[in-house]
């Protein structure tokens, strides 16, 4: 038998195969390919959606970070301001205290001066009194001796010469 025997089996095989292609295309391949396309588009959509959501999340994160930074800066500013104010206040208090102290010191000095004057004046009065007393005693002694009459006269004279 000759294995290469071409006869009318050939067109029958062509028709059979075309029928097979038609049946398979209609009932198997088209639905399958369509489903796979759907799946691909579903996956693509999901990926795109995930991408968009990630971008959104990044955006939110950036905004949040910016806000955080701003809040931190504000807090820093507030602290700096408060520190400055407190320092100024401290200086003011210090100055006020120093002024007060100066005032008190001056007042004390004035008081001391006055007391000194007063004391001096008292001393002077006492000295004068003492001098007068001493002079009185001396004069009394001299006058008793009568030896100094001339001196007395002179004194009187001198007094008399003073312009009254």
């Amino acid at each position: 038998m000759n294995p290469i025997d071409i006869n009318f089996t050939l067109p029958v095989q062509m028709i059979s195969f075309l029928i097979l292609v038609w049946i398979l295309a209609k009932f198997a391949w088209k639905p399958l390919l369509k489903m796979m396309d759907n799946r691909r588009s579903f996956i693509e959509e999901s990926l795109a959606q995930a991408q968009a959501e990630r971008e959104q999340a990044e955006q939110i994160k950036r905004e949040y970070q910016a806000e955080m930074l701003k809040a931190r800066q504000d807090a820093q500013e507030v602290i700096a301001k408060a520190t400055k104010v407190s320092e100024e206040r401290a200086v003011e208090i210090m100055e006020a205290a120093k002024e007060e102290a100066d005032k008190i010191k001056k007042a004390a000095i004035v008081d001391i001066e006055r007391e000194k004057e007063k004391a001096l004046a008292e001393v002077r009065i006492q000295i004068a009194d003492l001098s007068v007393a001493v002079a009185e005693k001396i004069i009394k002694q001299k006058l008793d001796l009568n030896a100094e009459s001339q001196l007395i006269d002179q004194f009187i004279q001198e007094v008399g010469e003073l312009p009254c």
Binding site: I4, I6, N7, T9, Q13, F17, F27, A28, L32, M36
Partner: protein, 250 residues
């Protein structure tokens, strides 16, 4: 092998009865295989059979889109998928033992010589008949010209005369050799495989256990060849169509 060829006659037309019966059995098997695969079609997590079909689709997708681009590849997909599954199942069919257990012979059913068709120890690959492979190759040939004309119009015939009208004869030979080589390559591989299976089964003592290893080794190799040839047939069909369809811009 060795048995006489079963001829059906319709008027003056002769048909190879065994090839046709086997082809129709293969067609039924392919259809059942594919319909089981798409029975519970889901884009979620596919079942086992759907997975197998998706693997075939991915394989053919790679071939078609690589050669033709996605738009033209999409058009060719159903044909190429049917082609690869049919050729693969055909190549495997001749490796199956005769599961009819000669029931037609026992019951003396002589209608359409069925008793003789199911006589052998194995089924027969439809692709072990030159008529089948030549039919597929001619369909490829028609497809090449049809798609060439569809996508290129009259320019398609222009390329037969390039770069010089003298080259026409070479182009014609090239064109005719494509279906010839496709048909004879597949036929030769599968027919030779079946002949050798027949020879191995004729070895003395093969029906007892000692002969089994030879048969097993050759069956394994035939499965390998069957896969390769189904793939090659599909790839070459795609490549030939791509040659005709894809515009070459040099």
């Amino acid at each position: 092998m060795g048995e006489e060829t079963i001829i059906w006659k319709l008027g003056s037309m002769a048909f190879h009865g065994k090839t046709l019966v086997m082809t129709w059995m293969v067609m039924v098997a392919v259809i059942i295989f594919c319909l089981i695969g798409v029975r519970k079609l889901t884009s979620g997590s596919p079942g086992k059979m759907q997975n197998v079909l998706e693997m075939i689709v991915d394989l053919v997708n790679g071939i078609a889109h690589g050669n033709l681009g996605s738009e033209k590849g999409r058009v060719m997909m159903p044909y190429l998928l049917s082609l690869i599954t049919f050729v693969f199942f055909s190549n495997m069919w001749g490796l199956l033992p005769n599961f009819t257990f000669k029931v037609f012979e026992h019951l003396h059913i002589e209608f359409a010589q069925l008793d003789k068709i199911f006589e052998g120890s194995s089924f027969m690959s439809p692709t072990a008949d030159i008529n089948t492979t030549l039919a597929l190759a001619l369909l490829t040939f028609i497809l090449i010209i049809a798609l060439g004309v569809k996508y290129k119009g009259r320019h398609y015939f222009g390329h037969f005369f390039e770069p010089n009208p003298v080259f026409f004869i070479i182009h014609v030979i090239d064109m005719l050799s494509k279906p010839m080589t496709l048909a004879f390559r597949l036929f030769g591989n599968i027919y030779a495989g079946e002949v050798l299976i027949g020879v191995i089964l004729m070895l003395p003592g093969v029906w007892i256990f000692a002969g089994a290893p030879f048969d097993a080794i050759w069956l394994a190799f035939s499965i390998f060849i069957g896969c390769i040839q189904a793939y090659v047939f599909t790839v070459l069909t795609t490549a030939y169509v791509a040659q005709a369809v894809v515009s070459e811009e040099h």
